[in-house]
């Protein structure tokens, strides 16, 4: 197949954008970490960081925290995923929604709930003899809640790829269900488990919200970066620490790719779908666990909502909307929420367009195969960069007046750029999967009929991807409204954001307004998800004519083939 000039240009343009907004900042990050204070290349900064007295402490803390969180989240997520995919439990829709809630909320919110429950004036603190949650244990619980749905998504996807034939065969050979679990189910998802574990690990070490809110004196790597940038403006140390964060993330992305490959290899075209059969003992045991997890998550959310609705926790529990008078406290007030929604909408619009464009160029264009492969490889890179590291890198690159993109700095533009880049990989993979699923002969048909190229994309390819595009739009919106780490170094003084406002209000001791702001983000995102679902349902309904309609057609056309 001849490659086409215009298609090659499209692939190169997509790569150029990723180079400008991802590779260049990363390069700057690496360069900065080896730049000494006098501007010369040297390891002075790294050495200063490695020999700083707190480092050993925060490294140990970070590692211990991440290992504990992974060890807790993976079994819980496996249990819930198993309940959703492999049992005959009722109300799976509700369970899915409840377990997925933390995806819609800023990661600080679970930490705030912990403060309300187990803080100095916490509702449940007296039960523990006055000991508070502040410190490593608080960060641990908050991060378990925040990372749980991410692990759940990965493990659930792995579990959904089941070959029913294997289980039928095992049953015929006399294997009990627990034996089938250990000999078929677990080996089948082991790459998924590794992927979920590495993802949880890298999310935990990059999280800034929980350590800030409930960490107390518990220092972690992410806090080091935050303090280096916000406190001391020491970018060499920030860059060196960011590179530490980057390494596990790289493993996480590699593990996820391997899991995806295993999934594809596991399901052959002859696989039969697995249908769970009821098994009372198993369903009750697994179901009880999954429901407890779901209710715990909803409980955390409920506590935040309560705290935001009472006059003065815990002394005056009468209901009031006083906390929603956000303009009363510092942090940005209601305009911060407006800014966040605006950022969400513009990130979603531009990001969806760019992700679809890049996915089209790599999956369906007639660009040279080498270009297409390079593009799909680079598109995976953003997932390997924690938000905090990306934020530091952006400051380094876009603060430089010599950079032609410097105009973006200090405005809304840089926030959109960092939000799109931060969430790009998932958006790209969703678009790519939708494009890959389309009939491979559409382009050829368009060419023969004389309506190929851009016309075909507008009239056929994009409309067929509409459900995926809605999914990507909502995902990007939610990602932009909830992220703290990517934007915390980049927001200009006049553009406060809701997610950052939570951090700042908590810092100033205004915990109730912080909870109120967090709940506002939750409701905005719930609305966005709801609208997305409505849009997808409408698209599906237009797409698939009802069975009755089809039967009537068969009668009209009198085609006996139809009757089969």
């Amino acid at each position: 197949m001849k490659s086409r000039l215009a298609d090659n240009a499209a692939a190169i343009a997509a790569m150029g954008a990723l180079a400008a907004f991802l590779l260049a900042p990363l390069a700057a990050l690496a360069l900065q970490s080896v730049t000494a204070d006098d501007g010369r290349v040297g390891l002075a900064g790294v050495v200063r960081y490695l020999t700083s007295p707190g480092l050993a402490h925060s490294l140990t803390n970070t590692l211990a925290l991440a290992v504990a969180v992974v060890a807790t989240v993976i079994p819980l997520a496996l249990l819930t995923a198993f309940a959703l995919e492999r049992t005959a439990l009722p109300f799976k829709g509700f369970l899915t929604a409840a377990a997925g809630v933390p995806l819609l909320i800023p990661s600080l919110l679970p930490a705030l709930a912990l403060v309300y429950l187990f803080g100095r004036q916490g509702l449940l603190t007296p039960l523990f003899g006055g000991r508070t949650i502040y410190g490593g244990q608080g960060v641990y619980v908050a991060d378990v809640i925040a990372t749980f749905p991410h692990a759940l998504v990965v493990i659930r996807t792995a579990l959904s790829a089941a070959d029913g034939r294997l289980y039928e065969q095992a049953a015929l050979l006399g294997a009990k269900s627990w034996r089938a679990f250990f000999t078929i189910t677990l080996p089948g998802v082991r790459h998924g488990l590794v992927a979920a574990a590495t993802a949880t690990f890298s999310l935990t070490i990059a999280d800034i919200g929980a350590p800030k809110v409930v960490g107390g004196t518990f220092d972690v790597l992410a806090l080091d970066i935050f303090k280096a940038v916000v406190g001391r403006q020491d970018f060499t140390v920030a860059a060196a620490a960011s590179l530490f964060l980057l390494t596990p993330s790289l493993f996480a992305v590699a593990a996820e790719r391997m899991a995806a490959r295993q999934r594809a290899a596991l399901i052959s075209s002859r696989s039969t779908p697995f249908t769970p059969t009821p098994n009372t003992v198993r369903d009750i045991a697994v179901g009880a666990g999954a429901w407890m997890i779901a209710l715990a998550i909803l409980g955390v959310l409920g506590v935040c909502q309560m705290a935001a609705l009472v006059t003065r926790w815990p002394y005056d529990l009468s209901l009031s909307l006083a906390q929603y008078d956000l303009d009363r406290v510092d942090g940005g007030g209601w305009s911060a929420l407006t800014h966040s929604v605006l950022l969400g909408l513009s990130t979603a619009t531009l990001g969806t367009a760019f992700a679809f464009f890049a996915a089209w160029a790599s999956e369906r264009s007639k660009a040279a195969p080498a270009l297409r492969q390079a593009l799909s490889a680079i598109a995976l890179a953003p997932a390997a960069v924690p938000g905090l590291a990306l934020g530091v890198a952006y400051v380094l690159v876009f603060n430089d007046p010599a950079n032609p993109l410097h105009v973006l700095y200090g405005g809304f533009g840089i926030l959109i750029a960092v939000s799109v880049t931060h969430a790009f990989t998932v958006a790209y993979l969703t678009c790519a999967a939708a494009l890959k699923a389309l009939d491979a002969e559409f382009e050829a048909a368009g060419e023969v009929l004389g309506g190929g190229g851009a016309g075909l994309v507008v009239r056929v390819i994009a409309p067929l991807c509409a459900p995926a595009l809605v999914e990507v739009f909502i995902y990007l919106f939610v990602a932009a409204t909830t992220t703290v780490s990517a934007v915390v170094f980049l927001y200009p003084p006049d553009v406060k954001l809701a997610s950052v406002a939570i951090l700042n209000m908590d810092d100033a001791g205004d915990i109730a307004p912080a909870a109120a702001m967090g709940m506002l983000i939750v409701y905005v995102n719930l609305c966005a998800r709801g609208l997305g679902l409505v849009a997808q349902t409408l698209i599906q309904r237009r797409r698939s004519p009802s069975a009755a309609d089809a039967a009537a057609d068969a009668a009209v056309s009198g085609d006996p083939a139809r009757a089969h």
């Binding site: 004389g450 797409r543 004519p545 068969a554």
Partner: protein, 366 residues
Amino acid sequence: MSKAASVRVQGLARRFGPVTALDGVGFTAPAGELTCLIGPSGCGKTTLLRLIAGLDAPSEGGIEIDGQDVTRLSPAQRGAGMVFQSYALFPNMTVASNIAYGMKRGLSAQEKAARVDALLETVGLPGLGQRLPGALSGGQQQRVAIARALAPDPKILLLDEPLAALDPQIRERLRGELKSLQHRLGVTTIMVTHDQDEALAIADRIVVMRAGRIEQADPPETVYNLPASAFVAGFVGAANVIPAVVSAPGQIQLFGVRSLPAATGDFAIGARVTVCVRPEAVWLDQGEGRGVGARIVSRQFAGATQKLDAILEGVARGRVSLETPSDRPAPPIGALVHLDFPADRLRLFAGSEEVAFVPQDEVAWT
């Protein structure tokens, strides 16, 4: 419909890196006829069709449609309509929009609608214009795909395995319909198929391909009765492919042992040849008749005929398949019979290496 156009392909080659998919292919598809390209998978038949459509560019050689060199033209400029294996109907558009997709831009909405209705009438789907493709059966979708390919008024029609996606029962009926539609429209058609029965049934002309080259291009009767090579004999219809030696003028020895009369033509004495004979041409004599002694080793009832396998006496690998009408009593397994190989039904080809081919019925040949 514009006047029927012929297609002429000359010295066409297509290389993908080190792989040669097509190697100097040349043939003519006469105006108004249905030409079938057949061959085992990987023989280059689909590559050839895509080159004719303009979806791919040849490494060498040229393509003429209606006497005009189209090698450098874009697909849309060539005047070729194409039906894809998956049909590639746009699922988000109605049947009418699909058909109108390739029509000339200058046409008014009414003209387009009228032409869509006329095309739906032609393919036997009147009144289905407002349906989405997903609401149609496989057979209906195929006819919509044909209507869409015909909509720009093409000079030729290209079909890439148009029946492959359908159930076997519907398939046989639809190939009859496809042929009569093609005959009615008189449009020059080139169709790729891997099903030799299908090609024999509907083609005016069959082009048998193998490993990027054309083995034979002839009417179906000629391809079946006078195959140009042992490969063609084995690929189109079932055939016994037997190694033999020319023992004397007009005499051959099957498997090097059993002497038979045959038209040895120019072959020298001692030449190794391959003999091809159709199962139905092998004559079975259950009495003490003439011919070669053989023992029946398997029997399969196949409705109108029965398929028998016999091993020539004294030749361990001398397996021969034959087919006799079911209304005649068949010998039981283990029976001794005589097989006669009529000289005028034996086709001799040079060389006697084992020739791999796709048997018509796998079971009968194991």
